[in-house]
């Protein structure tokens, strides 16, 4: 017979027979010394929390409650107060992260593969053409500064970059490398993005050429305005805080 089927107490395994009763609980009182230990622990824990809490500040990394690192830098003061990044500075970072691989840091592109941005008639003309190209991408043969390009495809950036970022990078491209064209704002890009929402494909050269070269996006500074100086350009732009990842 299987052990598990035993029903007779006399066949119950010896281990169970010799067992003690199930454990019970005594009711001894708390010792005064233990209460002292509790008090000491709570005091120590509380004191520790108070001392190293960094004033419970959400951005205080210093447990002793020193100022957050950014302000600390300004207190030390060698670089003076930290400036808000201008749209052009932000654009430079976005360009370095997304565009530089093909168009190169000097904006000259790669001969017969990637068209230049420096002095390009597309980049420096009215703001609509470059904005269209960045938003939706460009494919097929294209002629820039008299040279033919056509092997590479530019991807659309409307899914990847925000209006602000596209505006910043265009502002940068249109004022760097000797280019001298008007800045672009996030509102202009937002309007254009809406206008182009129904256009699913990448543009080709004829699409872009169909837009007159001097067409500006509505709502911007007049064409041929002076290139934005760092700092000045920051004023009309919305005070978007610099994103840590850009």
């Amino acid at each position: 017979m299987d052990y598990g089927e035993t029903a007779d107490v006399h066949e119950v395994h010896a281990a169970i027979q010799r067992e003690k009763r199930e454990p019970r609980v005594g009711l001894e009182p708390l010792s005064i010394w233990l209460i002292a230990v509790y008090g000491l622990a709570i005091f120590t824990g509380g004191a520790y929390l108070g001392r190293y809490s960094g004033n419970f500040s959400g951005d205080g990394l210093d447990p002793l409650g020193g100022p957050p690192p950014a302000k600390k830098g300004s207190a030390a003061g060698p670089g003076g107060p930290i400036q808000e990044l201008t749209p052009r500075d932000r654009g430079k970072k976005i360009f370095a992260a997304n565009c530089q691989t093909c168009h190169q840091a000097n904006g000259l592109g790669v001969p017969s593969q990637y068209p230049p941005l420096a002095g390009s008639e597309f980049t420096t003309g009215g703001s609509k053409r470059p904005a269209m190209i960045v938003l939706k991408g460009l494919q097929g043969p294209v002629t820039v500064k008299g040279q033919k390009f056509g092997s590479a495809v530019m991807q659309p950036w409307d899914k990847t970059l925000t209006d602000q970022k596209i505006a910043d990078v265009l502002t940068y491209e249109r004022s760097e490398w000797g280019n001298n064209a008007s800045p672009v704002t996030a509102e202009q890009i937002a309007a254009l993005r809406k206008e182009l929402a129904s256009h699913p494909e990448s543009y080709t050269e004829p699409d872009v050429l169909a837009v007159p070269a001097e067409t500006e996006l509505p709502g911007g500074a007049p064409a041929g305005a002076a290139p934005p100086k760092p700092g000045e350009a920051a004023k009309p732009a919305p005070p978007a805080p610099p994103k840590p990842q850009s």
């Binding site: 169970i16 067992e19 824990g45 205080g60």
Partner: protein
Amino acid sequence: MTPTADIPLKEPVISAAASDAEQLERARIDASTRVPVLMFYASAMVWLLIGTLLAGFVSFKLHSPDWLSDVSFLTWGRLRPVHMNVMVYGWASMAAMGTAIWLMARLCRTTLRHPLLIVAGIWFWNIGVLIGVIGILMGYSTGYDWLEFPSYAAVVLFVAYALIMSWAVLMFRFRRGDQIYITQWYLLGAFLWFPWLYAAAQAMLFVVPVQGVMQAAVGWWYANNLLFLWLGAIALGTAYYMIPKVIGRPVYSYHLATIGFWTYALFSSWTGMQRLVDGPFPAWMITASIAATILTIIPVATVGLNHHMTMQGYFPVMRYSPTLRFTVFGAMSYTVFSIIGILISLRSTARYLHFTEASIAYSHLGLYAFFTMVMFGSMYYTVPRLVGREWRYATLIKLHFWASAYGVGLMSLMLLVGGFAQGATQDDPSMSFIQSVASALPYLRGRTVAALLLTISHFIFAFHFGLMLFGLGRTSTVPTFLNPVEAEGSETHL
């Protein structure tokens, strides 16, 4: 020599003996849990052996990194997470659930209904761990400590857990008798905390990942809480049962037990972030965890005192009872583990230690010296009752105990001292990083010796357990004592 003869008995022997009806009921309950619990234990033993061999590989590779390094799935970066996860989910969780189911049935005084559903849960759990291990070996580790299993393995584990847990909780629902014993608090708590921890960590890391560095905070919160609220809670509950049961004396104080339980639940759940000292977090988050770690001294002192006072006068019984020897070793290690945990998490020491081997020592103190030793103790108690045989060789039990005790002691010592050496070198700007690696090297070799001891101990235990499983234990009315008992009547204490 008759050390047990003069043990002060708090109450007469007669009242400590169980009645016939009680024995019969207990036999029925034990029989109903037999298949699932033995299956839990057998699976846990297999994973323990696998995990132990992996630990040997991992330890060896740290000082001889070129060995087998051209086989992708045998590289350190894959074997180490496999070792940790096999130990946590394969060995520790399965042994814990086995013991917990057995204890729950006994303490609720209800037979385990439909044990085959739990058996299905055990299969699922084993499959989940196996899938996870293969996933990590193939390079699909998630990269979070203790959560490396790919998500599909986590889903299988969750289904398995739901099957197992629902029966444990149902037993509690159908309990008989008025009193709820301390062990039941811990077990019920653990059974409800684990799904909460696991689901929260999975959701916040993989389903809807929290932002950036907060993932590290979630990861460490999970790892620490798994150790405390899942494995630790079951081990404490088991100790609360085994110690008074074996010596036949009531637990010292109900009040201490209550305070110990609630402060344990309250403070442990805040810990974890002390491992991120000086990380890019608001200082208060880390400090709150350190303060909670300091406060864990309250449950430690309370539970430790409660166990100590229960044992007082009965310590000589550890000479004879394997269960008591392992369990008391584990319960004492809980105190050591927690105090070392407090010392290495203070900002002043954590600066040196938190990127060193010392944190590995801390994990081993918790998972092995405390949890695993208590589990070994409970297995020495339950297995003879489940298979109807006594352990065959007292010598093997003694070897198992001493190899485990010296093994984990040596390992913790080596890693702690090695961690200090490593941390001090890392903190010295005039030393290059490679010097800090070299400073830990002798200790890492020492750790390999410790791993060897533990391997021996586990193979001995697995062999002994296998004998019991195949019905090759002793048929006897006398339990297997570690040392021959000369005193008359002393077997009633075991």
